[in-house]
């Protein structure tokens, strides 16, 4: 297969950046999208040109590191997969493919397609945990948790922190990411205790990081590779409002 690749090149955070077009031939349909870029990079290195920088690690859809905006969609055209799981058989031979980094002011570009998502870490630090020290915990089976609740908490916990939800949102809102963590913990008895306070702190940090407001378009959930549901946002709003009311006295 052959492709025209229009790739965002930006040397560093200070650089303005621009698209550059590359022609790539001899791509196999079995290649993953990242392997296709590997091939391009080998060719660039051969020509003494700086390879395209991008974040990646596990290459199996779980670490959340890969983050490419492909033809106007985070993680490309396929639903429910990350960029590393996208294969070239999902594209037409001869197609022009436009590749950009996540665009959001809370995620500044580091270089080319790599962005800084440490804002997500800071949101978790603000309260995305159960306050329990190592040791001194009760037996794991002491508090039974209905299977349906555990399963639902798992569905929220499955978020990989990739940031596609932010990239997909026209307001660059982080509501889906933040609500997934708040939901997971507030559904479980272990996390419920701190639920209200957690929601307040995490939302405050989210605002401070410069993520936009949620206008309920649902683009985030549609583009989320892990299918994190919009109901998480509703649940978070309940926790948050509950916290607001609770904090007035």
């Amino acid at each position: 297969m052959k492709f025209n690749l229009k790739i965002w090149r930006q040397k560093n955070n200070q650089d303005k950046g621009a698209f550059k077009t590359y022609e790539l031939d001899g791509v196999s349909s079995d290649m993953s999208f990242l392997e296709m870029i590997d091939v391009l990079n080998e060719q660039l290195i051969d020509k003494d040109e700086d390879p395209v920088h991008f974040d990646h690690d596990c290459r199996e859809g779980i670490c959340g590191m890969c983050s490419m905006y492909i033809n106007g969609e985070p993680h490309g055209p396929l639903r429910g997969v990350t960029t590393c799981q996208l294969h070239m058989r999902s594209f037409q031979d001869g197609e022009t493919i436009t590749i950009e980094p996540w665009r959001a002011s809370a995620f500044p570009v580091v270089k080319d397609l790599a962005v800084d998502r440490s804002a997500f870490d800071r949101v978790i630090q603000a309260g995305g945990y159960v306050s329990v020290n190592t040791g001194g915990t009760p037996d794991a089976n002491e508090i039974p948790i209905p299977k349906s609740v555990a399963d639902e908490a798992f569905d929220s916990a499955t978020c990989i922190g990739c940031g596609a939800c932010v990239a997909a949102c026209k307001n660059a809102s982080a509501m889906l990411f933040v609500s997934a963590k708040i939901s997971q913990l507030s559904m479980l008895p272990q996390g419920k205790v701190e639920g209200a306070e957690r929601a307040q702190k995490m939302v405050a940090q989210m605002d401070e990081e410069g993520f936009g407001a949620c206008t309920n378009t649902g683009a985030c959930s549609a583009e989320c590779p892990k299918g994190i549901d919009l109901s998480n946002i509703a649940r978070m709003n309940r926790e948050y409002l509950g916290a607001k009311i609770g904090s007035q006295d």
Partner: protein, 644 residues
Amino acid sequence: MNLESKIPEGPLAEKWTNHKFNVKLVNPANKRKYDVIVVGTGLAGASASASLAELGYNVKAFCFQDSPRRAHSIAAQGGINAAKNYQNDGDSVYRLFYDTIKGGDYRSREANVYRLAEVSVNIIDQCVAQGVPFAREYGGLLANRSFGGAQVSRTFYARGQTGQQLLLGAYSALSRQVANGKVELFPRTEMLDLVMVDGKARGIVTRNLVTGKIESHSAHAVVLASGGYGNVFYLSTNAMGSNVTAAWRAHKKGALMANPCYTQIHPTCIPVSGDHQSKLTLMSESLRNDGRVWVPKTKELAEKIRNKEIHPNDLSEDERDYYLETKYPAFGNLVPRDVASRNAKYVCDEGRGVNSSGKAVYLDFRDAINRDGEDTIAGKYGNLFDMYRQITGSNPYKEPMMIYPAVHYTMGGLWVDYNLKTNVDGLYATGESNFSDHGANRLGASALMQGLADGYFVLPYTIGNYLAGEKYEKIGTDHEAFKEAEKSVKENIDKLLSIKGTKSVDQYHKELGKVMWDYCGMSRTAEGLKKAKDLVRELRADFWKNVKVLGTNEEFNSSLEKASRVADFLEQGELMIDDALHREESCGGHFREEHQTPEGEAKRNDEDFAYVAAWEYTGPEQPEKLHKEQLIFENVKLTQRSYK
């Protein structure tokens, strides 16, 4: 050098309790006077950082990814063992201990393994308290499954994403300590050297992967939790960035590297599809519970399949060879990983492999689907089938899956004593980066257990014992030892950048991987290993003459990052070969063709090789020096593994 394992006195079951009582304690008010560096934020590193910070130590945690949550532990699928005996099926601490020792082919320390089994129960309590959503039964209690051929159900899991959920739990505990100001995080920062002052580990030198800035960090103790080195094979199930650099640089500063040749090859991975392939994807071992492994009976049939002249579904029952079921009637498709892997290699070497490469065997769900229905099978393995389909474009409900073994885990690593301390004072190694608990072969679902056991429950005690004897004084990073280490790091980088050769780093890495896989992989011979040693040496010499690393140090430079890691792999690879060559026996993941029983099974030599091989670095291009820690078995009787 005398390798002291520091195993506490007393009966096996009381050693850890006694030891915890005997360790020196640091007064709570004084803990804040000690700084600890933790390299790595996987299960081992994140759990250690969180626990040490909770105790009051000042922790600095490092990882090369953009966030600690992305460490390779995130990818573990199957589950985590613990001797809870919730199923009342006869499990116990002793049984988990026994299974681990036996599974490791009697090449691990009894006392360490017993402690691991003992604290395993606390891990599950801890994780549940953190909000880890483990699988549950309808009654609300935790669910278990049997895993990797274990006779009891002791594996806890969170769908096929156990590693993710456990790591996010540890990451949340770590994040809480960041918020408390007790942990300082350094993402996108790679450790490139260990700094020694007066014979003790007192800090590290790092490179900021975005700016290229070389920096020093000083502490009273350094913990390496930097993961395994399976990527020496280039293709493996490890994440792309997994590397040996932190451990290897510590090795060059005096830490012994133990049993480097013990590599685990996992039997159920998606086969290689072409030269472009960058990593191999593991398919959970649980598939072997229902899938039947086979290849065509004859070479001729296999060839026709490879050429797509016939379809596997067209083969009649007697044209199929269910080789595991025939050869191992008792265990069948559930034989341990090494046995399953080796047998796949044999049938492919015979020319009966499938896939265009001839390097694959079938894992067939036809009979299971006929028996239980497609829905039931989808319920059990749906996500794995989807993943397989996504990667290969083939539908496992309709045609047999293809699998092939791939490098998965490295049992070798830095030598540590019972306290998880290396032979270097002040330097600790935990998780996959140490050699300790799995002997020559790791049981499924035991790596997650070990990483968390080390970090949550072992290290906080043993490191306290060490620090209690250390002075509070900090050493400034202007100390000459730091300056020297920084200088040598810079020189190494400058050298890589100045070669300006013609071959990319990836090309060297691929070539190294091929040599390692062909000669130091699933089965090894003296002749092959000797050849491999020459090849690796040649490749390394060529690398330092002809590698092409573009750009500068002062920028985000992925080629430079990789070059510095591959340079270490090129040295580590040779040591793995030396270790494999010297170990004249077969055990666990190390199979020497010269040493097999008449039935073709691994033949151990307990008389001469029941020891840990710990290698000492003696200088560039010098042979490493072997030290032996004799393994003493007081509680288990050594038997030959048999799965017939």
